[in-house]
Symmetry: D2
Subunit: 153 residues, 4 copies
């Protein structure tokens, strides 16, 4: 059975807002870190892709459900799972979960997977030419790697 | 005919990333500024709502489509339009548009409304108790004001 | 008497942290907005300077004293005052002040200039070649404009 | 010989600006992460300090010199070294260094400590009451731990 790709993320002061919880836009930062590490785990560095193939990836769509808030000092796991790959785009599922049981709020559910799911999202990305910002075919080495991943799932 | 509530936003260096375009999470910051000003335009300050009614608003869902990128120095308009209001939540449509015709990329479409639409989104918000983070009825003065807006539309 | 160049800045949720006050790094964002508007007020757009003269400005030194915290919804004034201009660099003084008297904390001093000063800083900037990141002479039109400002002070 | 406390930080898209380099305010985020981990390494969690002692730490002064820029994908080391501790405040030195030799720009110096130093700074912090924001004595367990560190140096 395949495990989903995940990175650990710690919540720092920079991430929280005056409500004492992680600011909603900042989950998208966590998710982008996970996508970068996901590509890295497949052997691809985005700065190399840009220099060698003149391509950058831009997000074209995000659907994100915020279920529970993360707070300062939380230890999170941020996932990246390939859902679909096309000629010039791909789509991933990304969840943010709390790693450890938290004291206090939500304590009853601590430990259950469901109780620790903070955000659930899908993200679509397009491959663009870095100069013209026009859609461009995903470099073959990367599209092959992504197709291999998709097949295994 | 009702005009949609909008605020102007200027793109600064803080908003862009290494790709030279506005980082995708930062549109959510712009949208939150517009929601804050929307509530203010209706006569409601979020710090007063918190002090007097013990309530905060948290985003529970975002669906955002990124159509075109904004770049440094762009002058944007960010909208907030009420779609639906419930007992303890409400939902808005928020678009980000470029205010002025841009030179160069996408020039042919400059001036057309369609060509200037950068992001299109819907955002759901829940009213929570600021201490317990449990859902709480929207304060009556605010729910009345939102209902009035919804009726006019 | 010359008035110092200032821009208004409103504090939004994105700016605050879990302590309920503006996160310390975010004052540097406000200051950069003020520098951008300062250059604009002198007739210079940074994207034009980059395209026409191949130069960008990078911050080389910041000394900032945090005296009082700004909180959500505060209305601020952020200044930019030229202190010194050189061949390939210049230095400015930038303060952040609260525009309006605040209720509650620090109320006794509300209204006094001193009581409303939140941060005091000096910032040094260097002109670099946008490709090589090597120091480069400030474009003459800009250095002339800055010299004129410096002379008036 | 004592080694200085350090954490690793990877540069992601969220950190860079349109100039292709890390935005100047974001080094302060890295530095705050290092301070949080430094306190954690001494056995202190800031959320515990707040709950048990009603105290938070706020930055009162930063002096930061930006020597070289970090770029996307850089692997950094961010230090935190205690310089001075007082009744209700302490001061640290914090440097940001690049971990690995970079290809291209600055290549000649790669490997030398000096060549890899990106920012050098000192940061002063005050202990405040989390409710009143009035200065408050550093909790004794923490001040003792800091004094022990200071003595060793």
């Amino acid at each position: 059975m395949l495990t989903v790709f995940e990175i650990p993320v710690r919540v720092y002061h920079e991430d929280t807002d005056g409500g004492g919880i992680v600011y909603y836009a900042n989950y998208l930062k966590y998710m982008e870190r996970a996508r970068t590490e996901y590509l890295r785990s497949l052997g691809f560095e985005q700065d190399d892709l840009r220099q060698e193939h003149g391509c950058i990836f831009v997000v074209t769509h995000v659907d994100i459900e915020y279920r529970r808030p993360a707070t300062f000092n939380d230890s999170l796991r941020v996932s990246c799972e390939l859902l679909e790959t096309r000629r010039a785009s791909f789509r991933v599922r990304q969840n943010v979960q709390r790693s450890e049981a938290k004291q206090g709020i939500g304590q009853a559910e601590a430990g259950s997977e469901q109780g620790n799911l903070l955000t659930a999202s899908t993200v679509s990305l397009a491959c663009l030419n870095s100069e013209t910002l026009v859609p461009q075919r995903i470099p073959r080495t990367l599209s092959t790697a992504l197709a291999d991943v998709a097949q295994v799932h």
